[in-house]
């Protein structure tokens, strides 16, 4: 037990280290009067990277545009960022670091609800507003508290939109559902889709599941083919990594029904992986990047110029909108150095024109009521079909 003493030594070493880096850490604190620190919480390595990286790029792009246009109230925005590495422990450390050491007055980020549920309470406890980019859990703001906002719509909206579209436009009466058990997002999307579909008189003939990382769906597809009568549509609740390969395997099996899904399908991987098999796919998403709307086109152009490639998916637009939402609130806040004032300003956001649709927070809600875009993929090309207003 004598080594307790050693532990104590270790502890003091840590404290020394903490002291040093707190003292030396990049200009720490929001006290610097000519800049406003906004924290970005994204994972640019690990499993989240494929959706978080575009979002972070969008986030930085918005901040750059704002700064180039003279900043906010005469102050420049500094985006404080540290990679959350798709790991809950790192993520929570990063959130805390951005608040405590960087002095962020507001935070934006995460495209995953479970990560948002871990990050949110830290911001809530510290009294710093947090705007979730693409975490679509409808109850997220209520579960975390009054400092939690969403830049995106809830899964309920997009699931209902694609369910309605399937029934009304594709004349679907029956559906097969394949759900990824590994994600909060995919299970929630599936739940809301099935609720809406059955509530409106449709029937789910079979629900099958897999786990993200599985690459072989032949067993599930064979089971689908063995059904006595084929369903009208195939609902696939998948994340982008698997959207393409599932489509490929379904079509290779000779199934021709429309495939319907949510924003997990909003990825070029569907066309790339499934190739000629990427046909008759319909999905709901935040925005059509093909839209002729000027806001969208300007964003796509700016993103392409900045990063040399077009926005990889709608999450880029959500990241962009997240920063703009925060900036809008900072402009209107009674005191742009006071997180509580920024929170109040965020809560009163009205008719903010954003790439992913006009954002307003209804009274007492911190989840925007936004339009959902329905997209269709035909022969490798994604086209805009229609907007469904909530």
């Amino acid at each position: 037990m004598r080594n307790i003493r050693f532990m104590a030594l270790g502890v003091s070493a840590v404290m020394l280290l903490a002291g040093c880096s707190a003292g030396g850490g990049g200009g720490g604190g929001g006290g610097d009067s000519d800049e406003i620190v906004v924290g970005a919480v994204y994972s640019i390595t690990g499993s989240q990277a494929s959706i978080d990286e575009p979002a972070y790029n969008g986030f930085k792009l918005a901040a750059k545009e704002i700064n180039d246009a003279g900043g906010i109230n005469g102050k420049q925005i500094r985006v404080a960022f540290s990679d959350a590495a798709s790991d809950t422990t790192t993520l929570t450390n990063v959130v805390s670091e951005l608040i405590e050491n960087d002095g962020a007055v507001a935070l934006g980020g995460t495209n995953d609800s479970t990560f948002a549920l871990a990050a949110g309470p830290i911001a809530q406890a510290a009294g710093i507003p947090f705007v979730a980019s693409g975490a679509t859990l409808p109850t997220l703001p209520d579960q975390v508290g009054d400092y939690m906002f969403m830049a995106c719509y809830g899964d309920d909206l997009q699931a209902q939109a694609i369910a309605d579209y399937s029934m009304e436009e594709l004349d679907a009466k029956t559906a097969w559902a394949l759900v990824d058990q590994a994600y909060d997002f995919t299970t929630a999307l599936n739940k809301f889709f099935q609720e809406r579909f059955t509530a409106n008189g449709g029937e789910i003939v079979l629900e099958d599941s897999y786990k993200s990382g599985d690459t072989d769906y032949s067993a599930q597809i064979a089971r689908l083919q063995a059904l006595p009568t084929q369903p009208d549509v195939l609902f696939v609740s998948a994340i982008p990594n698997e959207a393409g390969i599932i489509t490929q395997q379904i079509r290779e099996a000779g199934l021709t029904q429309p495939i319907v899904s949510g924003d997990g399908y909003d990825t070029p991987l569907v066309a790339e992986v499934a190739g000629d098999n990427s046909k008759d796919v319909y999905f709901s998403t935040h925005v059509s990047l093909e839209s002729e709307d000027a806001v969208v086109q300007d964003f796509v152009a700016a993103y392409t110029e900045e990063y040399g490639t077009g926005p990889e998916n709608a999450f880029a637009a959500l990241g962009y909108d997240t920063m703009n939402l925060i900036a809008d609130a900072l402009k209107r806040a009674t005191d742009d150095t006071d997180p509580a004032a920024v929170k109040d300003a965020l809560a009163s956001t009205q008719d903010l024109v954003a790439v992913t649709g006009t954002i307003s927070y209804p009274e007492g809600s911190r989840k925007p009521s936004k339009a959902v875009s329905i997209m269709r993929i035909v022969d490798k090309v994604t086209t805009f079909v229609k907007v469904i207003e909530p």
Partner: protein, 344 residues
Amino acid sequence: MKSTIARKTVVLLGGLVLLVVLLGVADATLNNYYLRILQLIGIYIVLTASLNLTNGFTGDFSLGHAAFMAIGGYTSALLTMPLAARALQLAELPVWFQEFVSPFPLATVLGGILAALVALPVGLVVLRLRGHYLAVATLGLLIIVKSIASNWEPVTRGARGLSGLNAETNLWWAFGWAVITIFVVWRMVHSPFGRSMIAVRDDSVAAASRGVHVFRIRLVAFIMSAFFGGVGGALLAHQLTAITPPTYSFDLTFLIVIMLVIGGSGSVTGSVIGAIIMTILPVILRDLERRFELPGVSQIIIAAALIAFMIFRRQGLMGNRELHPSTWFMKKPATPASVDAPQQ
């Protein structure tokens, strides 16, 4: 002899007082971010020191520590979850469950106990294996536990996980459990039982021929290791406040294994050193990543460092030795530092 014992007690108490004072100072002066890192150090000490019981002392190389952490984490989370969060997340569970909120300390202990209870039948099965096969079997255990956490919707909420926990883990709990773990592990190792453990590790056939109940020793070590693994998992759950199956991933097991290996399997103080280094190093590297905008480099550095360690210093920093700070402070190195350390 008597004075040595008295001296030990004084040093022990002195050390504890110093630790309490230091933690008090840290608690009062550091911001929440540094406190989080410090808490993590405490939690990782619990996890590394407990993994040392199997991987270091009985030589049963387990890759399944995160499985026991998951059991402890989920159990404690279910027990402490505030009623409001429960109504939202766990409406399907029976009524009695909707009414009883356990205090955090009790939940932590129960989490550990459940992990230990699971370890009993699991140990009876997997400990029939040794070496590589045991490593893969315990990795299998981790995957099985994670599968259950991902699929047992009514209780674990599957992929959505459990969230809205109170942030109960603080410096005192983290280091309190760290001290308890070190104390228990140290006492186990420096007892006849511990000598049997080491005999089992070094030559189980010879140990058996000397009348050591080899299997029982290994099983007890496995269960104790699981208990503290469960406790550590509970502490982590209540730091993160939201847990999902990937929280207790193979990466986490691997991190604890790295801590153990770098500190030196077979040394209790080595576990402490390994946990401290491998908590702080990633933080420093992440800071460098930030400054030089090279995301992912820290993972590469840690992996390369691990390989280099295995090649050039595979016994870890401490090997089988222990640090005895008492001998430094009292300037009385009468006994060599490794006198009661396990002999190779």
